[in-house]
């Protein structure tokens, strides 16, 4: 492959990793939001279902983010450097959220059985699960709107705050949160056995879907000036229109399936819909990586690096794909098998 194609392939891989992070890790964040909002007679059962759904897979789901970071700094180093400088503040806050969320989730699982202590960890987990996606969305909003093209000699506020602090970026932050919450609720409708709980998560999913629609509309309104002419032109080319149609059909299908309680269909449609949104973002700024500053071609690392990273990724996938398949098969496909129970009551440590 020659250089431009290689760079394009790697950029595509990064988008795939972002997509995986959003539909897998995003749902973990969303589940934290529902933990925060758990209400009614089944609130405790809702929280338990959430913890069970996240438990075995959450560590793996969050490695996708590290993947995005590593691919970005190996293959497009100037982009990583630029984003790290102008988005220093929101990225730092996001990291604090990630740290608190990940540790609180585990502490809750292993701390005392005292429900008050558990609740406190649960609260930290839930609040940081809510804040982190908003910041992630704000960073994406800042990127796509072209606001990150700031000169080095700009004032502190103009360089380090204004780019990511606007009505548009806040709206995209809200959109990120709504999308994650939507995914989580839809997944949970499939995962719970109890019909009453499924109803609860169905209601949550529908309200989140409404929020997604609202934030998307608001985003278009606030973005009417910020989104440049090229962006709009790109969004009206045939590929983009096709993508928007797929996203739209998936959104309608997801809501229809939720209304008629066909949860497995709703889950598939929700994944397609959210992936459509992710790739729509990619297409909206293509071929720029940082609109106004770097494009895929201008920021790409030397061909030898791109080629080796691709070979490394292909080799890594040989290990990763079967492992992931095994993980999801064990925890998401079949109920617990009746293997000899090794941790019988007398051996069990106090949980």
């Amino acid at each position: 492959m020659d250089a431009p194609v290689l760079a394009l392939v790697v950029a595509g891989l990064i988008m795939l990793a972002v997509n995986a992070y959003v539909v897998l890790g995003g749902a973990d964040f969303g589940a934290g939001v529902w933990d925060l909002l758990a209400r009614g007679p089944r609130a405790a059962a809702q929280r338990e279902a959430i913890a069970e759904g996240i438990g075995p897979i959450w560590e793996a789901n969050h490695v996708w983010l590290i993947f995005v970071v590593v691919l970005l700094f190996s293959c497009f180093p100037p982009v990583f450097a630029h984003l790290s400088v102008v988005l220093h503040i929101p990225l730092t806050v996001m990291l604090i959220g990630i740290v608190l969320r990940g540790s609180a989730f585990t502490f809750r699982a292993y701390d005392s059985t005292d429900s008050v202590v558990q609740r406190q960890w649960g609260r930290i987990f839930a609040v940081s699960s809510t804040i982190t996606p908003v910041l992630l969305g704000m960073c994406v909003g800042a990127l796509v709107s072209g606001a990150l093209a700031v000169p080095a000699e700009a004032s502190f506020v103009a360089r380090f705050i204004t780019p990511w602090w606007s009505a548009f970026t806040l709206t995209i932050g809200g959109l990120g949160l709504a999308v994650f919450a939507f995914l989580a609720a839809v997944y949970l409708t499939v995962e719970v056995q109890d019909a009453g709980l499924a109803e609860d998560f169905r209601a949550m999913a529908l309200s989140a879907a409404l929020a997604v629609g609202l934030f998307a509309a608001l985003g278009l309104w606030f973005g009417r000036d910020t989104l440049t002419a090229t962006t709009r032109a790109l969004l009206t080319n045939p590929a983009a229109i096709a993508l928007q149609c797929v996203t739209g059909v998936a959104a309608v299908t997801a809501i229809g399936a939720l209304l008629t309680r066909r949860y497995r269909l709703a889950r598939t449609a929700a994944v397609v819909q959210v992936s459509g949104i992710v790739w729509g973002w990619g297409l909206a700024q293509f071929p720029a990586l940082v609109p106004g500053v770097h494009t895929i071609a201008s920021a790409a690392a030397p061909t030898v690096t791109l080629r080796l990273v691709l070979i490394g990724v292909a080799g890594g996938m040989v290990v990763l794909v079967p492992s992931l398949w095994y993980l999801f098969r064990i925890f998401k496909a079949e109920p617990a098998r009746a293997f000899e129970r090794v941790d019988t009551a007398e051996h069990r440590l106090p949980e």
């Binding site: 897979i57 969050h62 590593v70 700094f73 220093h88 990291l95 604090i96 993980l327 051996h347 440590l349």
Partner: protein, 432 residues
């Protein structure tokens, strides 16, 4: 505090915090699978109890290690964007491979922790093995990247830009082998000694506990060979820096004048202004022997290098002595254990040895921290030895003392909680 100092402090604090979890994340899974193997073989519930406790500890440590590692991957850019812009394409390779190893570790840890009832005993044990192997590999790849900062290879510089990049040569840089060997052994030695120390302490109070005897036995199985091999690995590292980072060696040894048959200075205080190390005991020709294996070889002194290329001498030398001192004590304890093994005396009954091991509980971690100070501070003022200065790599973002303070408070909080959880949920719980 200047922004550069705040950035360095934040990076040091983040690394210093993460390295403890990384070390335990490499060592604990090995203990866990060795213990589970005993459970599968003997069906003695003591081993199951032990396996469950260690896996619980691993889960807590892994979670904090994973998030603090995520923070570091971002901090590379948040604090050192110019470094990443320069080096990303050169050292991205080990980081990418590390990503896969870490991913595999996270997947199989999930399977291991939550899969007790969903897997056969054999499959469950192999999941644990996958965690231990991928965790170790992941650590090795990260150290490869760090080693490149000490011995940068695989590129040429033309007009301040890196060209002719060879990522494989960069990954397999000269320091990669010695440094990753030293770090991996350190992980096993520190974890083994710490776990052995805790149970040795418990055994001093209750010699008959089959639980603590079992734990001590497995912990020593990894602590003893790792601590002894570390002596050889340390010698290799010393010979390596003698060749590749002579300033670092001179700083470590408080060695100012280039001499043939250089003496090894024990203790003492380097006086930067006067250019001498005062109050030290000199062992004739020993430094030449250690550095080059030849008593008459020439060892370059600090005075051969411009003063602005000296690292902070006192810090580096002090840290080095702590590392070597504690490593020596760990090796000594290991020899003592071997003597017991050879004489067929049970370690659990040797009270003085138990006391010694108990006192050494934190030794490995302190040595690891001190070792990283030697590596990182010893490379200053460079971020990439000989190519980029740390001061030229720092972000233009002002007010870096704020994130430094926030992360310090956050990590102190997490550190206390983790220590409390390990104590309250694992150590304090009475054996079944």
């Amino acid at each position: 505090m200047s922004d550069l100092l705040a950035a360095r402090a934040q990076m040091a604090m983040s690394l210093g915090f993460h390295i403890i979890f990384a070390v335990l994340g490499i060592g604990m899974p090995l203990l866990m699978v060795l213990s589970e193997r005993q459970w599968v073989k003997t069906r003695d519930p003591v081993w199951l109890d032990l396996t469950k406790r260690w896996s619980k500890g691993t889960a807590i440590l892994f979670a904090v290690g994973a998030v603090s590692g995520t923070v570091l991957s971002f901090e590379l850019g948040l604090l050192w964007p110019a470094f990443m812009e320069y080096a990303g394409a050169i050292i991205g390779m080990p980081f990418s491979l590390e990503g896969f190893a870490f991913f595999t570790e996270a997947i199989f840890l999930g399977i291991y922790l939550y899969g007790w009832q969903r897997l056969s005993a054999r499959a469950h044990w192999w999941a644990g093995v996958a965690v231990a192997v991928s965790g170790t590999i992941s650590g090795i790849f990260v150290v490869f990247a760090n080693a490149w900062m000490n011995s940068p290879t695989g590129f040429r510089v033309v007009d301040g830009k890196a060209v002719d990049i060879d990522p494989i040569a960069a990954m397999l840089n000269p320091a990669a082998f010695t440094q990753s060997l030293h770090m991996t052994l350190a992980a096993f030695a520190s974890t083994g000694i710490a776990v052995a120390g805790i149970h040795a302490w418990m055994l001093r109070r209750d010699t008959s506990s089959p639980f603590h005897r079992a734990a001590l036995k497995v912990a020593l199985m990894i602590a003893v060979p790792a601590s002894l091999l570390q002596v050889i690995s340390g010698d290799l590292s010393g010979k390596f820096i003698a060749r590749w980072q002579p300033v670092k060696l001179a700083a470590i040894e408080g060695h100012f004048e280039t001499t043939r048959g250089a003496p090894l200075l024990l203790g003492g205080v380097p006086d930067e202004a006067a250019g001498v190390t005062r109050h030290a005991i000199a062992v004739p020709k020993m430094l030449s022997v250690l550095a080059f294996g030849d008593p008459d070889s020439e060892v370059r002194g600090l005075n051969d290098f411009p003063r602005e290329e000296w690292p902070p001498l006192a810090v580096v030398r002090f840290a080095f002595q702590i590392m070597v001192g504690l490593g020596g004590l760990m090796a000594l304890a290991s020899l003592w254990v071997i003597v017991c093994w050879v004489r067929k005396r049970e370690v659990a009954l040797q009270r003085p040895l138990l006391t010694f091991l108990a006192l050494l509980t934190p030794a490995g971690f302190i040595a690891v921290e001190a070792g990283w100070v030697v590596t990182e501070v010893g490379r200053q003022p460079w971020i990439i030895q000989g190519f980029m200065r740390t001061a030229d790599a720092v972000t233009p973002m002002p007010g870096l003392v704020i994130p430094f303070t926030i992360f310090t408070v956050l990590y102190c909080f997490l550190g206390v909680i983790v220590a409390w959880l390990l104590w309250a949920q694992i150590v304090r719980v009475r054996p079944a």
